[in-house]
């Protein structure tokens, strides 16, 4: 059975606002969260480092899923609040974990490299590398690790 959504009664109402006005209202509301978003991203990067350090000890699926969860949240917040390199790096990490899927295929050393690079990226770059270069480097690391071309200690 199909029933018209009650929400449809909210469209084309005389006292309403335009699409552009509604979207602008939402963007303005989002802008008010910018400072809190910065703190959330910093906390996310810290949590990611901690989770990767834990995974180096446990090397189990639960640890891997925890890192994936943090990476996805970091990706979402960074993407929403215009931190494109942080968003891209977090997404690369999440994709890498999804591709490898199992702990035995996901070496802790690679995830530690991700965590260190994302940490450096959050601080605005490190070792003469800009955030954009770090993000590109992580993408390269992920593709090489997936094809088995990374020498690990």
């Amino acid at each position: 059975m199909v029933k018209p959504s009650r929400l449809s009664q909210c469209v084309n109402t005389p006292a309403g606002v335009s699409f552009e006005e509604a979207a602008a209202g939402a963007e303005a509301a989002l802008a008010e969260l910018a400072v809190e978003a910065g703190s959330q991203m910093a906390a996310g990067v810290l949590a990611l480092s901690g989770a990767c350090a834990d995974y180096a000890n446990t090397h189990d699926r639960a640890g891997l899923m925890r890192i994936h969860c943090i990476a996805i949240e970091l990706y979402t917040v960074a993407g929403t609040f215009e931190a494109p390199h942080l968003a891209a790096s977090a997404k690369t990490l999440a994709d890498f974990i999804e591709e490898t899927a199992k702990p035995e295929q996901c070496p802790p050393a690679v995830l530690t490299m991700f965590a260190q690079a994302i940490n450096a990226l959050q601080r605005g770059g490190a070792g003469g590398q800009t955030p954009a270069q770090l993000a590109r480097g992580l993408s390269l690391l992920a593709s090489r690790a997936l094809s088995g071309h990374v020498q690990l200690p």
């Binding site: 449809s8 469209v11 606002v17 509604a22 939402a26 969260l33 979402t76």
Partner: protein, 159 residues
């Protein structure tokens, strides 16, 4: 492109937001508040929403099912039960930062209206909300609009 002649007033509509992340809940809440929604209910999981929505029906559900995708989508499917009154007919938009074929298939089986990849822009969510206000048959005749992702890496999937 939505014409200026379309006027929106969501002040009397009720929306339920489901997200395990507190800050993601805050983001979505701010966005829908900016659209004009004033009755906004937040839940950390779809099963929790299920328990509450019998008593307080909503007109729209926006849900991120990750990481307990299966459990949350089962709960969303249960929302289509007539016992949930008007909520059974409310549009459901799934948002996710982790899009996969499995999720898309499971979401379709759960009878959600569309899936919107995170991070999304306010305009992208509003376009989807407007699209879901059309009855299913009408949506077929009017394909969803092109969506501009908030960041380059964003992917939008919809049916």
């Amino acid at each position: 492109m939505i014409p200026d002649s379309v006027r929106l007033n969501f002040s009397t509509a009720r929306v339920g937001i489901v997200d395990p992340s507190k800050f993601a809940l805050t983001i979505t809440r701010s966005v829908v508040f900016g659209f004009g929604f004033r009755e906004i209910f937040e839940y950390s999981s779809a099963p929790m929403a299920l328990a509450r929505l019998k008593m307080a029906p909503v007109d729209l559900v926006v849900c991120d099912p990750y990481p307990n995708v299966s459990e949350n989508l089962q709960a969303l499917a249960a929302l289509r039960d007539p016992r949930y009154g008007d909520t059974a007919f409310a549009p459901i938009i799934v948002t996710t930062g982790s899009v996969s074929l499995e999720l898309m298939q499971a979401a379709r089986q759960a009878q959600v209206d569309c899936v919107l990849a995170k991070p999304f822009s306010a305009a992208a969510l509003l376009e989807r909300i407007l699209w879901t206000t059309k009855r299913p048959g009408m949506r077929d005749a009017d394909p969803p609009p092109t969506v501009h992702a908030a960041v380059e890496t964003g992917v939008i999937e919809i049916w």
